[in-house]
Structures are given as structure tokens and as C-alpha cells.
């Protein structure tokens, strides 16, 4: 295991959160990282909150009903011819970086390529013979092989489950679920999906049979959209908002409050539909549940800033995305969260050089075409290099910049995801 290992530490914690703008392959990168960790012996859950079932496609799961975590069979990966190369990613689990003693004792990890091959080729639940680690050469008991479970977040279902759990009575739960605001709020509206992702995350992370949760996040404009979701929902549900909406001004109201009321009542007049009455009823119906929500939200927030949580920003090398990635990084940093790495997905793969082409045993016409293709490649490479250079310029010196070269096709199977993990490289 080398210190230069690109994924060092990323997969060693309890939680890995992948943030980034839409369309950068965040889902794919999350799945590849999760797969790498699972093949290294960790028990991994990967959750996507993207409504499109892309991750599940790549993982070969049923896209229709994917809210429940389902195990991904890893044995097929034995067929990946160059599985040995996957070790680059497996090596990420380093006991020295993990404080959690139970993890060090229980979880298995792969120390070198031969173990990786052995694990993958055997495709069985147990492998033996750990080396290194904390116990000064103590030979561990049988190690547990990793497993990977994938699921897709269903915000509506999660929200219903929360309401059912926290509501004081089934009738109260019913009243909430019948509320017009709730019915719309729990489907497509801003922030709720993020909040529900957080809820599920909390559930998964509390499961004793899971070592690592890898979280893909909804495509976001702002990095904090997701991390901030619990606070936003709590803001709506807290008592001050109820006071405001209910019109029963208590002490300490201000001109600002009066103005807010003016807006709200103007809107209510405009609609003439007692919409605010519904909002109020909705908020009130959560009244007794507020404490439970606040508690869960606080735990979720703590989880996100915990020492064994790694946040990575995923991007591609297109200028508009690198600019966004930079914004994300800065916003996270301002919020006290230092991303562990920035991963540039779909970078140009290595390609034949002009010198190689010059030596190629082909007709002059074909050689000219190959040269032309290499020029085209060089043009795009120049574009990419400029984007990456400007990305790097905006990042703190210590922050790792990793590249995932383009496969040249959509990852269609587990082996493709494994290849992506394998190709993770330091830029």
C-alpha cells in the first residue's frame, strides 16, 4: 500500500458523499467507488437519489422497484481479465486512518494485488490471511469478504415512513398525508428529496452490518443545497414559521414580520383558496413531531461533518463544470467541510503518440489519417488541459485532484465500473 494511492482514505471511512453538478457522471463515480470498496472487503451500501435509474442499470438491478437495498453479485468480476489492476483502488482501506476500533478488528481489507485477485477470483464470502494492520502481525481470524448493496432513494416513500414513525397517532399521520401541501411537498418540491436522502443516509449508516455508505446526491446548483436540506425543512416546520403563518403574532414581532404577513395574506387573497390555511395546518400537524425531526436532522448534520466522512466533488473537464466544481468546493469550505478530493470524470484516455504513428506499418494515406486523428485528439486535449489547469489554480494546494479517464462507452456492466475504479489516477 503506497502513500501515493489516489483513493487512499476515501473509502476507509464510514461515509463517502459525492457532490457535484448534474451530468458529470456522479452516479457512475459513486458506484465505481462503492464497488471498489466492496471488492476490497468492505460492506458497502450505495444510494443514488437521482430519479433516473442509471446507477441501477449499471449495477444490473431492476429500475422499477429499487427503493430497498439489494445485493449486487460480485462474483462475475472474477472474469475481468486484468482484475489485478483493481488493486489500485482496493488499497484504499488503511487501518492507520481509521479510528473506529470495531472496524479495524472486523473489516477485512486487501493488502496487495494478489489478495485482490484471490478475493475476486474466489468470489466467496471468506478469505484468509491478513497482513499488516494494527495487531503487529497478529494473524486475524477469517476475514469477511465485502458486499455491495445498491438502492435508489424514493423521497415520497421515505417521507411517508418518517411521518408514520413520528406522528403521535395513526389518525394524525393520516391527516398529514391527506394534506394538499404535504401531497405536493413530498413529491417534487425543492429540498424535500435532499432531506429524505439525508434521512435514508442516517438509517443506512446506523445499520451495524454496513461499513461504508456511498452517497450519490441529486444534481445540484449549489453544493450546500443538499447539505443544507435538513435546516431548510426545519425552518419551515419550526414554531416561528407557524406563528408567522398562523397570524397569531406573539411578542417580538417586527416590521419585517408584518411585511411577511402582508405578502402571505396578499397571496392568500390572490388565490382565495386558504392555501395558507393548509400550509398552517400542515406545519401545525408537524408540531409534536418537530423535536424528532430536529434530532434526526442534527444527527444527519453531525454525520456529514464527522471525521470518518469523506466528501468528494465530482466534475468533468468542461469549463462550465470545472467552474461549478470550484464554486462547490469554495461553498463547502466556507461551511466548514473540506472536500477530500476533486474527481474529474471522463478525462481523455491515453492515446497513440505522433511518434508511434510515424513508425506505424501502414499505408501513407492511412498514416495521414491517423496523424489527423491525433491532431484532433491534441486539440481536445488542449481544451481539457486548460480546463483542468484553471480548476487546479482555484483549489488549495493540498487538495487531491483525481482523474477518471473515459471508458469510451457508457458503463454497462459491473466490470466497467471496476475498470473505472481501476483507472482512477492522480492528476
Amino acid at each position: 500500500m503506497t502513500a501515493a494511492d489516489p483513493s487512499h482514505g476515501l473509502l476507509a471511512g464510514r461515509l463517502l458523499v459525492c457532490l457535484g453538478p448534474g451530468g458529470v457522471g456522479k452516479t457512475t463515480v459513486s458506484a465505481a467507488l462503492a464497488l471498489g470498496a466492496a471488492m476490497a472487503g468492505r460492506r458497502v451500501d450505495v444510494m443514488t437519489v437521482d430519479p433516473a435509474p442509471r446507477l441501477l442499470d449499471a449495477l444490473g438491478l431492476d429500475p422499477v422497484d429499487a427503493a430497498e437495498a439489494r445485493e449486487v453479485p460480485l462474483d462475475g468480476l472474477a472474469d475481468v481479465a486484468d482484475v489485478r489492476d483493481l488493486a489500485g483502488l482496493f488499497n484504499s482501506v488503511d487501518s492507520s486512518t481509521v479510528q473506529d476500533a470495531s472496524y479495524v478488528d472486523e473489516a477485512s481489507y486487501v493488502d496487495d494485488a494478489s489478495n485482490a485477485v484471490e478475493l475476486a477470483a474466489a468470489g466467496r464470502a471468506r478469505a484468509d490471511g491478513g497482513r499488516g494492520g494494527t495487531a503487529g502481525g497478529r494473524r486475524r481470524p477469517a476475514r469477511r469478504a465485502g458486499r455491495l448493496r445498491a438502492l435508489r432513494l424514493d423521497p415520497k416513500r421515505t417521507f411517508d415512513a418518517i411521518v408514520a414513525r413520528h406522528a403521535p397517532s395513526p389518525a394524525a399521520a393520516d391527516a398529514i398525508m391527506q394534506n394538499r401541501i404535504y401531497r405536493n411537498l413530498s413529491q417534487a418540491l425543492a429540498g424535500v428529496g435532499d432531506y429524505m436522502a439525508m434521512e435514508r443516509l442516517l438509517e443506512l449508516s446506523e445499520e451495524p452490518a454496513t461499513d461504508l455508505v456511498v452517497l450519490d446526491t441529486p444534481p445540484a446548483r449549489e453544493a450546500l443545497d443538499f447539505l443544507d436540506a435538513p435546516r431548510r425543512l426545519l425552518d419551515l416546520l419550526n414554531s416561528r414559521a407557524v406563528t408567522l403563518l398562523g397570524g397569531g403574532m406573539r411578542r417580538g414581532f417586527s416590521v419585517v414580520d408584518l411585511a411577511a404577513r402582508a405578502v402571505l395574506s396578499a397571496f392568500d387573497r390572490l388565490t382565495g383558496l386558504h392555501l395558507l390555511g393548509d400550509v398552517q395546518a400542515f406545519v401545525r400537524s408537524f408540531d409534536g413531531m418537530y423535536a424528532g425531526f430536529a434530532d434526526r436532522a442534527a444527527r444527519a448534520q453531525r454525520l456529514l461533518i464527522a471525521g470518518d466522512t469523506a466528501v468528494v466533488v465530482v466534475t468533468t473537464a468542461e469549463p462550465e463544470r470545472t467552474a461549478q466544481a470550484h464554486e462547490f468546493r469554495a461553498a463547502l469550505s466556507a461551511a466548514g467541510i473540506e472536500p477530500r478530493a476533486v474527481i474529474v470524470n471522463r478525462t481523455l484516455p491515453a492515446i497513440a503518440s505522433a511518434a508511434q504513428i510515424a513508425r506505424a506499418a501502414v499505408s501513407p494515406a492511412l498514416r495521414r489519417k491517423l496523424m489527423r486523428a491525433a491532431e484532433d485528439f491534441a486539440s481536445l486535449h488542449q481544451r481539457e488541459a486548460a480546463a483542468i489547469a484553471s480548476l487546479r489554480a482555484g483549489l488549495p494546494a493540498g487538495l487531491k485532484l483525481l482523474a477518471v479517464p473515459d471508458l469510451g462507452r457508457e458503463p454497462a456492466e459491473l466490470a466497467d465500473l471496476a475498470r473505472l475504479g481501476r483507472s482512477l489516477a492522480i492528476l
Binding site: 448534474g22 433516473a52 418540491l189 402582508a262 402571505l264 388565490t271 406545519v283
Partner: protein, 377 residues
Amino acid sequence: MALARLVLVTGKGGTGKSAVAAALALALARRRPTVLVDLDQRMWAARMLGLESSNNPRDNLRDNWRDNSNDAVPHGNGAAAIAKPDAIANLETISLSAGTELEAFIERIVPIKAIARRMLQSRTFGYVSAALPGLEAFLMLERLRIIAGRAALEDRYAVVDAPATGSAIELLSVPGALKQIAPLGTLNRLAANVESFLADASRFAVILTLTPQELALREALEASDVLRGRLSVSVAAAALNCVPHPLFNKSELDELDAPGAPPEFARLAQWRDGAGRFAARARREASRAGLRVVELPMLFSPAMGRAELEELSRAFDAQLFPPKFGKSAKSGKSGKSGKSATASTSAGSAGPASAAKSTGAARSARSTRSARSETSE
């Protein structure tokens, strides 16, 4: 088929939405005054065109917006006119955001400016938007409706650089959701108004961007189903972006692929031309789904700037506005390919034919580029 007054460009992330929107706006601006509308204040489409160079666009936009919103027309084109370029005199860019639309709404309702200001700065403001979910998005669509209305009056076009497919569909679903929250009354009427605007193909249409890749194709086809089915929105075209003009022919590829040949050359050829092969399938499936396919060439250039967008815009122009019969034009061939795709008759015959023709377009586009880059250097 006439193009809608306002065209919203969306697609899977990474399919070049902003570039396509910018190129479309350029193409349209050659015919009519055109406004390029940005929805996220990042102004990528405008920036690529060199129309926006501020280091901190948000602040500037906000200030501009505020200044304009002080004008006497509270509901007109209150949005900011960012830049009026000399080179593209017909093209105006404006930036909308849900937040600013909501602010405008509040400033309209709270007539005392000082109070409105203070309120906007307070956390209370957050409650308002949280308590009335969908309102911001709705106000933004209402603004698009007004922009389209003005475009019709002034015989202009509007092109919207929208967020990626999922978010765009969420945005376009808002009026329906609001109608359900408010089954009667003014808000219902407003929502119904916006909904009928979205369903009116002469005023509003979507262009879906995709690249010759499996997931992009699938997402475009799914989006098209949702837009046309559930939302009754017209999809003017699928813009198939980044289609490489093939460099290698069949026998050359075979030679490179031959057993014993060094694999790196085959990989290079695959990298260069590979997407072209999938493009044929994408074109076929999109046509079969009843989509008119507009094909845009892959540009192997070291930057994506104004010159590249000009080139894409010419490809757009040739396919959106095919020259009439008997009239010869540079890229006339590919114009017909766009048309034949609309007819979407037997997909089998339409596919390869249009493939061959648009290849011609790509080639002519490429030659103009190299000609230009030679003169510029």
C-alpha cells in the same frame, strides 16, 4: 413547421445544452431579433458567445435586474439586458432566476421599498418561499410566458438555456401541481394560463439535446415521452450534438483492427470516429419516436468559443430552415435531412439517408472552420 416563439433547450447534463442554446440563438438572430434567456445566472451560453465577461456575474446581474425592475413596467421585460454586443446586434441576453422573480413578486406586493428590502434580507423571506413551494418556479414560467408574448408582438425569437432534463421537467410540471394545490380561483387561472402557454406549439417548444451515447439517447427519448404525454408540451427537435464526421473508411478500420496490428491505432480510430456509428442509431430511434433530428458536428477545436458556435449555428440554420426546392445553398442537403426526419415515415429508410446527407453538412462545416483558422493564424 414554424418554430415556436420561445424555445427551451434542455437535455442530459454534458450534452452541450448551453452551446446548443447559444448556437440556436445565433442561428435565429440572423433572421429575427432574438433574446437568449439564462435561467441559472451562470450565463454559460452568453459567456461562450463572449457576451458576458463579469467576474462576479451574480452581483452584477442582481444589480442590473434591480435597476430595471424599478422601471414603470413591473411585469414587462423587467429582466436585465446584460449586454448588447456590436457583433451580434440582433442578439440580446437576459438572465432570470427563481429568486429574483420571487423578489420582484414581493416588491410588487410590499409597496414600501425599505420594508421589502429588509424582508428580503431576513430569514422570513426563506419561510415565504418554503411555505409556498413551487411559487418561485411558477413565477419564472410566468416570466417566460410574458417574454414569449412580447416576442410574438415584436416578431422576435427567444431561446432559453434551461437546466438539465430532470430539473427542466420539474419546472414545467409546476403549473399542473399548482393547479392541484389550488383547484379554483386566481392562482388556478394563472397556472392554467401558463399551462396553456406551455401547450401552445406556436408559443412554446422544447429542443432536447443529446450526444451519440446510450444514456443521453435514452434520457432524450424518455423526456420526450413525458413532455409530449404528461405535459402536452411540443418538442420541436432533438439536437444530436457532437457527431464526428467520419475520418476513416471501412477498409481502413479493418486494416487497423486486423489481428497482430498494434491496438493503439485501432483505439485512436475508435476514439475519433466511434460516436459516429452510434449517431446513426440515435438518429433512427429518435426519428422513430417522432422526433425531428437536427445534427450538430463534433468540433475538434482547442476551445469552445464564438467561432465554434458560429459553426454550429450554421448547421442549425441549414436544418431548421431548409432552403426551398430549386434554390441551391451550401448546406442544402442536410436541411432536407432535418425535414425528412420530421416526417418520420419508415425509420429504416429515413435513417441512413439522412445520415449520409448530414455527414455532408458536417464536412462543409468542418471545411469552413479550417479555412477560418488558417486565415486567423
